[in-house]
Amino acid sequence: MSHQTHAMAQIQRQIMWNRLIAVVEEQAQIMIRTAFSTTVREAGDLSAGIFDRQGRMMAQAVTGTPGHVNSMAESVGHFLLKFPLSSMRPGDHYITNDPWLGTGHLHDLTVVTPAFHNGIAVGIFANTAHVIDIGGLGMGPEGRSVFEEGMYIPIVKCFDRGVPNETFFDFMRVGSRLPVELEGDIYSLCACNDAAVRRLVEMMDEFEMDSLDPLAEFVFDLSHRATLAEIAKLPKGVFGGEIWSDGYEQPVRLQASMSILDDAIEVDFAGTSGLSSRGINVPPAYCRAYASFGIKCVVAPEIPNNWASLAPFRMKIPEGCILNAPRPYPVSVRHVIGHLLPDLMMGCLHQAVPDRVTAEGASSLWNPPLRGGSSVSGQSRGNKPVIADFEIITFNSGGTGARRTADGLDATAFPSGVRTMPVEATENVAPLIVWRKELKPDSGGAGRTRGGVGQIMEFATKGDLEFAVNASFDRIGHAPKGREGGLDGGNGVVRFKSGGLLRTKGYQVVPDGDRLILELPGGAGMGDPTTRDPAAVARDVRDGLVSVANAKALYNVDVSNPKG
């Protein structure tokens, strides 16, 4: 091959890789635009990607959330074990919500679609989305086994050569509280894979490709080498850390020992607490997903996610620990603990590369599933009015941990990639009044850089009638920890407006005349607070984010005239 032919081939492979990423991005955008569940279209709780014929992920959309992305990467292999590629036909779509074959709880549907070019199966598209209702108890920790948590869909064909499997859809329609949304979402997942297949075929025609395999090897080779090059820059050694969750019955310890090797980073979770009888358990794929995400943000944030760039991050998760829940343990709100894993990984990495990590943040999403009406209050309460039936979940976040050179982010999701809904939209789909949603002063952990500030939310129904919350909140008994002398973030609080506290996990009723107040945690600080720029302290005091008293007590800054 002449130098120039070689150069042209090299340039063309780069263009093709770029195009492949554009194809999966289109796949994700179509899903967002056609999905019915607010969890997908408003919150962005989804992922999309393309896989080679062996089920290795080649590219994934940057749109999406880490828990889905990395666990979906494992999922396609399970589909191929049951339905080998040679058995698949154009127009087939396969689906599951098995927490152990997909992304960790029944609310996540994964759809897999073969891509054919000139009659040959050349690759596979997959996507995952969090649907709003899958029957069962509904999203929350109360189930004692996965069977209570909703309908369980094994890997089945939902479309056979373009024809819907009506038997399957019949089951879906009767088993969900929101059958239209569920069916619409499944159609949407299949349609976005169809569109991606069409786009891939166009691309292969344009570049005169017979197979994706050479491109896959090119992508994997560059990604793997680049990831190893980043690992090589790290000091070698074994670094340990732990983090605590409030748990359901009792506090849960997550322990990790991270070995930075020449060609891999291995994490051993020995020492982690055992399983819970409630739905906070984490299936192993979800543990790997969030642990890898945490490592990747620090070590190789610019390298795109694919099979080869994720391969050097290896996890040993002991059997019987809460991060390796076996079937049929309940797993509905596995995110409560899963979201703490990036903080745990950064605790380990802090010992190796202290300049590249953040302090701990609120991390676990606070997504209150709220429910009202007959299923809470019964069909009638004599002469007392009952609120109209509603079922809603919002996604809200506390503060993120302080960064090395910047404060943490106030009320912003991390590690989750989801968005919240406007209060006005929430109040239009449910008979709720959100009386307060604002930042919580003094909740950002003090430090040279300050933790992101948490928020306070106050929920009631119209007319202050009773409703219920299926609580799955964390960081109440165990606040985010600061680093290098930075102080802890403010802990969360779950209380009634009338004064008493709620349990942090589980189904509870907010009675007539009362309201639910959530105080979301703040991120932790980094570095000695007394070394913080006094002007930054004064600005925080002026903005009401730090009290005059805390400015003096924690930062040793006198702000006698906060208006000045």
Binding site: Q14, N18, Y187, V298, P422, E424, L439, D543
Partner: protein, 693 residues
């Protein structure tokens, strides 16, 4: 016989002017004078009047667009602004949607709100989603804020209350109190600036309006006075982001509607050309020094939207700017222009932009100290420019400097020669633009099949053929006047105004009476805004409903009849929705109810029909020969061959050129790829056609 008309477009670097007089057109560019922009305008006006030989008194209409409002937000040079908002919600504009626009970047920077927290002042009051008062407005609490507003020297005030778009009473009452106490401070209320659901977007828009209002009002009044003293007594209109023109009074009240007027002018320019040439479906492609803008135009109307982001902090990333909910011409803007800088990442992948060399130092080949390779350097390395005649010979390009930069930043890292590095950079930037265009089509439910690409801006005609190939377009049009397209577009814009209101209803319980009442009041408001500038011209009215399946997230626009709706119309509206939905997403969802989120009413003057259109029929085809040839490297094959060079000014109507060739003019070069041919139509436009493969 139309009076002479003058358009002025203030951009970041240049102020463009276009004057149309007795069927002729004069255009010039002068430098923008950022400290006192009206100075550059006046200089330009004097120059263009002289050049065209037209007296000030002969000008019958002046249309103006400016980036001043946008720049004030980007550079944070607006007024000291306070936000009065519902108690419990003072942080809405700081929290946004609680998300990060980049999942992996731990050092991510989020946009800072325009109003700091200490000036976001809570007011006790609360409405529910139907507009019912849950907590009455505490007027004493509002008055108690006055000393703070005075002491802080607040120059503008925004008022944003939850659900105020349903019931504006509390906001209006607060404005009245402020008018009594602080008569000199302008007040923007959310129920007027952006009366739609979603508090973050509405408050953000209202705050931005207040933030730019004092400065824009001062500037516009000053400009008007200065033009009058020059003897220009013609009415002055302002170009809005939605593509319509408005009066100074309206512009002073809602200056946020003036952002992005330049790009809107470009889209209208394209729409006008599409009409002249009878092209139903086009893609407008405007590539300048820093960005490329892509806009879909169907039936001679640019696609419109109601949301927009300004002042993105994250490399043009979606979600990294401040949201604005105003009527806008919808376009995608990506960081791909002649100045965009190429680099190689840690994986050995070539990236282009969004960092730009700008005008200073500019690409390496400008010889002004730029050392990183820009797209212009890559084009030069492929032989696409003649270094001696670039920009009409106003500067000589340094080919060696371009090669050095390409080799240092790209070639040496990938074992490529400077020329092949240049090829890689061009292929990548073309690919990026094509990918952005593809995603945009998907988001709009459109395809590129049968579409014509209209290319303008300095870079558009250079990259048009290859981008068209990548998205499956086989026809490209390069109009004349492409360097000042936005200013020409201003002269084609109707005087118009768009009113948008939210009124949430399930379609199964469609309240015809309420909708009729709303639409009539919206029409009246729009007419009131248009009438001062329409001078009795006939007006058109377009009504649109934004609808979706109950439970779905993205509404689609559905046209409504312009009349009082009766019960019989309901079924027709539902049928129109189903048609539109199927067009966007192939498959309607059986058995689902539909909900209506909001309505839009646009009132505008009817576009001047007496326009010059392209003559059809067989043309006499004169022989044309290239003025010379130049070795150019083709990006598809990598091979170098001699391409013919044709100065555009020398091409007669009907001339036909077989690619590969380059047509040169001062402002740009049109590349005619090897698979393409070009003809010059009766308007002097170049029409490029790709031969069937």
């Amino acid at each position: 016989m139309q009076a002479s008309r003058l358009a002025v477009d203030i951009g970041g670097t240049f102020t463009d002017l276009a004057l149309e007089h007795q069927g002729g057109r004069t255009t010039i560019k002068v430098l923008t004078t950022p400290a006192a922009p009206e100075q550059g305008v006046l200089d330009g006006v004097r120059a263009i009047l002289t050049a065209a030989g037209v007296a000030a008194g002969e000008i019958g209409l002046i249309v103006h667009g400016t980036t001043l409002a946008t720049n004030a937000i980007i550079e944070r040079k607006g007024a000291k602004t306070a936000l009065l908002t519902t108690e419990g919600f003072r942080d809405v504009i700081a929290m946004g949607n609680e998300s990060r626009y980049d999942q992996y970047d731990l050092d991510i920077v989020l946009p800072r709100p325009l109003v700091p927290r200490y000036l976001r002042l809570p007011v006790p009051e609360r409405l529910d989603n139907t507009g019912k008062v849950l907590r009455p407005l505490d007027e004493a609490a509002v008055r108690a804020l006055i000393p703070t507003l005075r002491a802080e020297g607040v120059e503008a005030i925004a008022v944003g209350f939850l659900h105020a778009f349903v019931n504006p009473d509390h906001e209006r009452r607060v404005r009245a109190i402020l008018a009594e106490e602080l008569p000199d401070v302008p007040v923007s209320i959310s129920s007027e600036v952006s009366p739609e659901m979603r508090e973050w977007e509405r408050f953000s828009t209202t705050v931005a309006n207040a933030y730019v209002q004092p400065m824009m009002a001062r500037y516009l009044r000053r400009l008007e006075a200065d033009l009058r003293t020059q003897g220009l007594n013609a009415p002055l209109f302002l170009m809005m982001s939605g593509g319509g023109l408005t009066t100074i009074d309206t512009a002073c009240r809602f200056p946020i509607r003036l952002v992005e007027s330049g790009p809107a002018g470009g889209a209208i320019f394209s729409a006008h050309i599409a009409r002249q040439c009878g092209l139903e479906n086009v893609l407008s492609f405007d590539m300048g020094g820093t960005t490329a803008k892509i806009c879909l135009i169907d039936a001679f109307k640019p696609q419109t939207a109601r949301t927009f982001e300004v002042a993105r902090v994250g490399r043009f990333r979606k979600g990294s700017g401040l949201p604005l909910r105003i009527p806008v011409i919808e376009m995608v803007e990506i960081g791909a222009g002649g100045g965009s800088i190429a680099h190689v990442d840690s994986l050995g992948r070539i990236g282009v932009g969004p960092e730009s060399a700008g005008a200073d130092p500019g690409p390496a080949c400008y010889g002004r100290g730029g050392t990183h390779p820009a797209v212009t350097d890559a084009n030069l390395s492929l032989g696409r420019y003649d270094p001696a005649t670039f920009a009409g010979g106003s500067m000589t390009l340094d080919t060696a400097a371009a090669h050095d930069a390409l080799l240092a930043d790209v070639g040496s890292k990938l074992a490529l020669t400077a020329e092949m590095a240049g090829l890689a950079v061009i292929e990548m930037v073309d690919e990026n633009m094509a990918n952005a265009a593809r995603v945009h089509a998907i988001e709009s439910g459109k395809t590129y099949e049968g579409r014509t690409l209209i290319a303008f801006g300095g870079g558009g005609p250079v990259h048009a053929c290859r981008v068209a190939e990548k998205i499956g377009i086989t026809r490209v049009l390069v109009p004349s006047g492409a360097g000042v397209g936005s200013a020409i577009g201003f002269l084609r814009a109707p005087v118009g105004y768009e009113v948008v209101r939210s009124l949430y209803q399930r379609f199964s319980r469609f309240d015809v009476q309420a909708v009729n009442g709303l639409l009539v009041s919206m029409r009246d408001e729009a007419i009131a805004a248009v009438r001062p500038g329409s001078f009795g011209a006939p007006l058109s009215e377009v009504r649109t409903a934004y609808m979706r399946y109950v439970g779905q997230g993205h509404e689609i626009p559905v046209p409504l009849p312009t009349k009082i709706l009766g019960p019989d119309d309901v079924a027709d509206i539902r049928a129109a929705y189903d048609r539109e939905y199927a067009r966007f997403y192939d498959r309607p969802v059986p058995g689902s109810d539909v909900e209506i989120m909001s309505y839009a009413v646009v009132v505008a003057t009817i576009a001047d029909a007496a326009e010059e259109t392209r003559a059809s029929g067989t043309l006499f085809v004169p022989e044309v020969a290239p003025s010379r040839t130049q070795p150019v490297r083709d990006t598809v094959t990598g091979e170098v061959s001699d391409w013919g060079i044709y100065p555009r000014a020398s091409l007669p109507v009907g001339a036909r050129i077989q690619g590969p060739a380059i047509v040169t003019e001062d402002e740009t070069s049109t590349l005619i790829g090897p698979a393409w041919s070009a003809t010059v139509d009766t308007l002097g436009y170049l029409e490029l056609t790709r031969e069937a493969a």
